[in-house]
């Protein structure tokens, strides 16, 4: 029997992008299965075949911008025995101008998911909100929290129609998946605030120190990189942005699974600091989040200017010591 014609196969797919008519599934008890998609004349949904003519080139119509888009940044995330660390600088640059020195590049989405953003600031802000909304809708519809991998795939599919346009979004989802079999309700951690109202069921607290989570694909710490060009990568360490080569340099040297919490935080801080030192488009402060089974905790934003001066002093001392040693040698 021949395979069904491509066109009919496509229409059977449960979700559709961008088309305004609602499609519901009887299986899901009438829940609409379409995802939100901001309409734009240049977006090309997955199976959409234009019946009218677009300009010959594949690119979006060129809009003249009053300033260059912000793209420079250093963000990083890595997994270690104590959970996930997410760190980023706080500078938003527009060409050569520091548009804002105190931007939040790490945004909590829910109690166990934090997103670091890089690329165009406006696009990231929008897509973070869209992601948060879709995750919340999924939770309401299915009475179960979407896994981090699921959230990444959802985001990737929502971004797909904008491939080839000027949308520039590179998000790293850093989160913690509950063990399979648990209900999706998280225990509220005292320090973390929620963007959504999670029902705080009295869950017995999980003793993270005793339980050694396996690095299985659907439970425990997760780190997934999603980019508007369609890349979706799950891994143990990612750094994104113009300062990422410098951050990778520091991370690749010092990163081990067995780091303690303080060592990991110090490593992340050092990586961002070195990147901000060398990269013109990164700088100002460093934000740091630590995600565990209990949720995310934010470290106080730290101004790297102080760190820079401390580093300068340290170096000056080393140079001094060396000078004194060579003086002694030359006299000895």
């Amino acid at each position: 029997m021949p395979l069904e014609d491509t066109a009919s196969t496509i229409n059977v797919i449960d979700y559709n992008f961008g088309l305004s008519r609602q499609k519901t599934s009887n299986r899901n008890s009438g829940v609409p299965l379409h995802f939100f998609l901001p309409t734009s004349p240049d977006s090309a949904p997955f199976h959409y075949r234009p019946s009218f003519h677009f300009p010959a080139s594949n690119h979006s119509l060129n809009v003249i911008r009053p300033f260059t888009l912000a793209h420079g940044t250093t963000t990083l995330g890595f997994i270690f025995q104590g959970g996930v660390i997410a760190a980023a600088d706080t500078r938003a640059s527009a060409g050569g101008l520091v548009a804002c020195p105190a931007v939040h590049k790490i945004t909590p989405i829910h109690s166990h998911l934090v997103v670091t953003s890089s690329g165009s600031g406006a696009d990231c802000m929008l897509w973070e909100r869209i992601l948060a909304r879709e995750i919340r809708l999924y939770q309401l519809r299915h009475r179960q929290r979407l896994s981090i991998r699921g959230a990444a795939k959802l985001l990737s599919f929502m971004l797909h129609p904008f491939k080839g346009t000027d949308v520039c979004v590179a998000l790293t989802l850093c989160g913690w998946d509950k063990e399979a079999g648990n209900t999706g309700c998280a225990k509220i951690s005292e320090d973390s605030t929620f963007k959504i109202n999670d029902s705080s069921s009295a869950h017995s607290s999980q003793d993270v120190n005793v339980r050694a989570y396996s690095a299985s694909p659907n439970s425990g710490p997760q780190l997934i990189y999603v980019c508007s060009d369609g890349t979706r990568l799950q891994g143990d360490v990612f750094s994104v942005g113009s300062g990422s080569p410098y951050a990778y340099g520091v991370l690749d040297r010092g990163l081990r699974w067995s780091l303690s919490r303080d060592e990991a935080i110090s490593l992340a801080r050092e990586a961002v600091f070195r990147a901000t030192h060398r990269d013109a488009y990164s700088g100002n402060n460093v934000d740091l989040f630590h995600i565990t089974a209990q949720g995310w905790k934010q470290r106080q934003r730290e101004d790297l200017k102080e760190e820079f001066y401390r580093d300068m002093e340290k170096r000056a001392k080393i140079v001094d010591k060396r000078k004194r040693v060579t003086e002694l040698d030359s006299y000895g």
Binding site: L3, C227, P245
Partner: protein, 182 residues
């Protein structure tokens, strides 16, 4: 910069793919798997533009699985290859063509092993030859020689390769080949 290779023997196909997932000049992952299992005896190796590879390969993968669910038996490698080619061709002249290059390797219970090459212009070519009397070990040796030459002359560093073998028993994972493998 990616690398896929397939070697067809008398009753098996050996395939290998590099493990690097790169973003411009940075290697973001060193252990990325570029092979997609379409069915018990068919593998799709997919390289090309960043998002297109996974989107397209997963689309083909799910459709092949759907066929099996609907009809109770699996698509043959030749049918899967032609289905893939048709999809590539349909999207080629749309606003969003898929820029992917593919190798489809499979074992058909009636026709034996098959290796198909497809590229982003949706050309399809079945390798019309197979090395006679090529044992599995010979094929792995041949593969190692190819990788050695690659590491010698290719400008990019491809440190490791995933290797799989398909025969009438199904898909077998072989040992990963690393740089400097003798």
């Amino acid at each position: 910069m990616e690398y896929l290779i397939g070697i067809q023997g008398p009753d098996f196909v050996l395939v290998a793919a590099d493990n690097v997932a790169a973003s411009s000049i940075i290697q973001m992952k060193h252990d990325y798997d570029k092979m997609f299992k379409l069915s018990e005896k068919i593998l799709l190796l997919c390289v090309g533009e960043a998002g297109d590879t996974v989107q397209f390969a997963e689309y083909i993968q799910k459709n092949v699985q759907l066929y099996k669910m609907r009809n109770g038996y699996e698509l043959s490698p030749s049918a899967a290859a032609n289905f893939t080619r048709k999809n590539l061709a349909d999207y080629l002249r749309s606003r969003t063509p898929y820029h992917v290059n593919l190798l489809l390797a499979g074992y058909d219970d009636t026709d034996g092993p098959g290796l198909f090459y497809m590229d982003h212009l949706s050309s399809l070519a079945k390798a019309p030859f197979a090395a006679h009397d090529l044992t599995r070990d010979d094929a792995v040796d041949l593969l190692k020689k190819c990788i050695e030459e690659l590491n010698k002359r290719f400008i990019l560093n491809l440190p490791s390769f995933t290797v799989r073998l398909i025969d009438k028993e199904g898909i077998h994972d072989l040992e990963k080949l690393a740089h400097g493998a003798k």
